[in-house]
Symmetry: C2
Subunit: 370 residues, 2 copies
């Protein structure tokens, strides 16, 4: 047993540890005394919360890159070793059922996608349920069935679980946490910090479908639109891309905070600029219209089956072809590029010929989207 | 990427698959139309829910043994391979802070212990937070600090996480899910199904401290007692036991449903009888007194730092010595034995000389204990 320990820091990890210490000194302070909805929105407040509270408490070189999944060496007692990816997400989407899916397939696809964009092959999921007293068993059965189907479609197995029940009024029907384990091949090392000037940025399809679907399903807007969630497992799409394009630097699924948040994470993690062209970004008309009524830019609206890819600029056409070869990437597009400046900023060339800065989302215009 | 898949069923897994099919036919139906608190209590209703809904949806040979952690083969692209253990638990304890700990160290220790009793070396944790709007940041900071300390004490790293926020009234301050990954040495294969007549049953210390502490912390009983949660990481204790005693068949940490539930799981999984002696079971006087006022048998009260061990009968003294050699096992005791009959039943020799059946807990006398 005793030789199965967390391995000592490698040279690369030590570099990360050094970066941690430097980052600690410039880390934002949390000004609020109480948690607000914005802390869960995936934008600026969420980043501040994570950096001020969680990174400070848990700091270690495996957590610090803040990628969608952590890369973990595992060493068995008999010389066996492998590298696994681990990720987790809790799902509190409201309503639980919506056009195109429900909290169950969302919980499976979300975690499968976090593994896939880390370059890992999704293999195993855990499922933790927090149920509200009085929740209909028929709804739970339907949710579990959707999880089963989504797991089968993604080629993963739900291998362990947990169920808790809280009193009526202490939850909102059903919350689900999934954690996922994937296998990482040696040499795969994707990360937004690896973006460099000249790289191309692609999205795998129209953005914002999921977020707009959820907002419309709540019935708060008195409009109907023919739109449904894009929730889908991205592992096959990613495998095709990685197989065809050696120069993939980073992949991210564009969930809370949407594509704009991913672009900001690229700019900040790699100390580069990001320049995108509004007209190049695929958005369905229904989504654009609903987003306008909601007063939000589709760039900030969550997808649950779309990824952002950063690839070597010379391989952009190759990457586009690889994405389009898969049904989930049929409407993929090259939307912009990585630039040397302005450092840490995302700029968009608007349809009207101007440019503006695309910052991290402030506040939470789209609560409980996943 | 394509060769990193879930491995095909081995002969042993095929046997499990066959057992699944047989078990499916005699699986209980869920009679209730709505979730009740009892479905989260770890007793009879929880077992029925899991078997009727989740096993039915997710059935696969890795999940079906229903041990505290799943054993998972992982194969990398370059011939690397290892076996990892995966487990998950959500924590909804109320109150969040109590004598001896809080939801943070509970969430770390609970998952560390599920890995440890599977014979795995705990290595990595994920942490998923569901926060209620308005939750004090100071409380979250304190909880994260306790998680950090507990992780350090257990030798694990929190490597990935997620934060969601729900509206005021839609949660109860803070819920935490942790999932854990551990390394499994080849040949380690513990499980309650392996108990056989003649085996000895031990507990690692006084039972019920955690559950009674939580009930008293709620202030619903107007008594004070000098008792605190036993929350603690059991990995070292387990490593000592496994190193000293080759004939360990199964280990379980006695959380929801207490020792009585574990004994029933042994009896049912191995198709054996279990006979324990009431006088041999260590219970603190304060816990016994409070449990009496609560109207509950301490055998059903949760611990968060105690394990039940099933070992070869001929190695019982050796196992007792190994447990007592560790501070967390100083008050370990041999409490009973595995018998050939009555099949599937747990019997207790009472202090007064009689015997009675110890069944699974019905209802939920101790809600939200973890």
């Amino acid at each position: 047993m005793t030789n199965q320990r967390v391995l000592p820091a490698t040279g690369r990890e030590q570099q990360v540890l050094d970066r941690i210490e430097r980052a600690r000194r410039r880390r934002p302070k949390l000004r609020e005394e109480r948690i607000t909805m914005a802390h869960g929105a995936g934008g600026k407040a969420t980043h501040t919360l994570i950096e001020a509270i969680f990174l400070d408490a848990f700091r270690n070189p495996l957590l610090e890159p803040l990628e969608d999944a952590a890369r973990l060496p595992v060493q068995g007692g008999t010389g066996e070793r492998a590298t696994v990816a681990l990720t987790t997400d809790s799902f509190v989407v409201s309503p639980l059922f919506f056009p195109g899916g429900n909290i169950g397939d969302l919980a499976v696809n979300g975690t499968v996608n976090d593994l896939a964009v880390a370059g890992a092959t999704p293999m195993y999921l855990s499922a933790g349920f927090i149920l509200e007293e009085g929740f209909p068993v028929a709804d739970l059965t339907r949710i579990a069935g959707s999880m089963r189907d989504a797991a089968a479609a993604a080629g993963v197995a739900v291998v362990t679980g947990d169920t808790k029940v809280v009193e009526k009024g202490k939850a909102d029907g059903c919350y689900i946490n999934t954690a996922g384990v994937g296998a990482l091949a040696a040499g795969v090392n994707l990360g937004v910090a690896q973006a460099r000037p000249g790289d191309a940025i692609l999205v795998s399809g129209p953005i914002g479908d999921h977020g707009v679907t959820i907002m419309l399903a709540r019935g708060e807007l008195d409009i109907e639109a023919d739109v449904e969630s894009d929730t889908a497992p991205l592992a096959e799409l990613v495998a095709g891309l990685l197989g065809a394009v050696p120069g993939v630097r980073a992949l991210r699924d564009a969930t809370r905070g949407g594509v704009a948040t991913i672009l900001n994470e690229i700019a900040k993690a790699a100390d580069v600029g990001v320049l995108v062209t509004e007209d190049a970004i695929p958005v369905r008309d229904e989504v654009r219209g609903a987003a306008e009524l909601l007063g939000i830019d589709p760039l900030y609206v969550a997808c649950e089956g779309r990824l952002v890819a950063v690839v070597d600029g010379g391989q952009a056409a190759q990457a586009l072809a690889a994405l389009r070869a898969h049904p989930l990437g049929a409407q993929a597009a090259i939307i912009g590029e990585v630039t040397a400046e302005p450092l840490g900023l995302v700029t968009i060339k608007t349809t009207f010929g101007g440019t503006r800065i695309v910052d991290l989302l402030v506040g939470d215009p789209l609560p409980r989207i996943c």
